[in-house]
Symmetry: C3
Subunit: 171 residues, 3 copies
């Protein structure tokens, strides 16, 4: 069976760098990017992430239908780095009409991951360890992102929590 390596952590905890370092152990590398450059700050963050990855990856950009993006991987792929589930949760909330459409989209990813013919490294964020947000949309986002984390982590063969740049093995 192929490995599904789940890497989570807070903002600026070093999770993307750690996931990258794991991916560099593979030969033919793909990167599945979920971020959409909807403002200047986001463009700058994406630009920095791209620079960090340099030339070592073939990048696929897909904000919503991750199962379809994963189905495009060639059989020659050794690893795909999916970064990240939390941005994806935000995209689903923004673009899909209701909970049912979001559930369908999540279910499709959960079916696609174990069927991959290469290893997969999945990056996510811990967003639920602060105060309950006053904004109802932020609470809904927190719920969706948390459920996505639980469901994907349940499929993982390996899981890490990054804390101040240090990986802590969860599984």
């Amino acid at each position: 069976m192929h490995r599904i390596i789940y890497v989570t952590g807070g903002a600026r905890s070093g999770k993307s760098s750690y996931a990258l370092s794991l991916a560099l152990g593979y030969a033919n590398r793909y990167f599945l990017a979920t971020a959409e450059p909807f403002d200047d700050e986001m463009q700058e963050r994406i630009r920095k992430h791209r620079l960090e990855r340099k030339e070592g990856f073939t990048t696929i950009e897909e904000p919503l239908f991750l199962d379809r993006a994963l189905s495009l991987l060639p059989v020659s792929a050794d690893v795909v780095l999916l970064d990240c589930l939390t941005v994806w949760s935000g995209n689903m909330m923004h673009h899909l009409e209701d909970d049912k459409a979001i559930d369908k989209c999540i279910t499709a990813l959960l079916a696609a991951l174990p069927a991959l013919s290469c290893d997969c490294i999945v990056v996510s964020n811990e967003v639920g360890m602060g105060i309950v947000p006053e904004n109802p949309l932020a609470r809904r986002f927190r719920d969706i992102a948390g459920i996505v984390n639980q469901k994907v982590a349940a499929l993982a063969t390996d899981a890490y929590l990054l804390c101040s740049g240090i990986p802590l093995k969860l599984r």
Copy 2:
């Protein structure tokens, strides 16, 4: 001695489900619920939690005086699941007049837990790993909830941090 099992984690980290799964290992189960259904969203959350528990528990509802609620448990009880300390901290802040009354209420719980004649599973939340809240009430809540967590966890025979649905053993 009876076990005090402390289960913490962020919102949607799977802590209540994990606590439930631990409780299902016992025969005669009690549930001590601290949540008050003060709005529709809360009612919905409570409803979902009740459904998840189904028929396997005798439920006691008590928002404030947890020591009194625990004293109602029959000697035949095998386990009580207390869910959760963080909602309780909010209730104390809302209903009790000052820090002194809150301290008294906390002290009463800390005396009651080790005196139980059955095992106890206590659920709480990590709420202090985000940005310092601008709202002074939110800062005060964060302080109270954090102190409660420290004091109850100090009594625990077992402690877990849930992270993306995965339990990490703290003690």
Copy 3:
């Protein structure tokens, strides 16, 4: 080589108390405080922290140039407790003119820590596990604090995450 012991955790997670308990194992103790008493709440927090430390430490207060403060330590010092990096990140953001000045200040600390002639216990905060803050300044603060955590933790010989008062060994 001297030890650099990194202690992180959320608000009210018991990190300062745990760092203090570690420091009490040393004879000649110094405390490097980064907090500035800019309002009543902060003054009260500093006062409480001082009381907790009592008479066992020689205190140096320095909000910005931690490398200079560390250079003042006598050779007779056995340990210095630096509390905390997160307040320091806020101070740098508030007082220094731009990212370049902040980088310079961080670089100076990173050079000073391994050159110490005594052990060092460094306290920091996890601030990135909540919802993305709406305020751009808060997002910038979160980025700076997170980068500082990663860089200092990378130098640490020992690292702990405090969770509900329980230390979890990261390294």
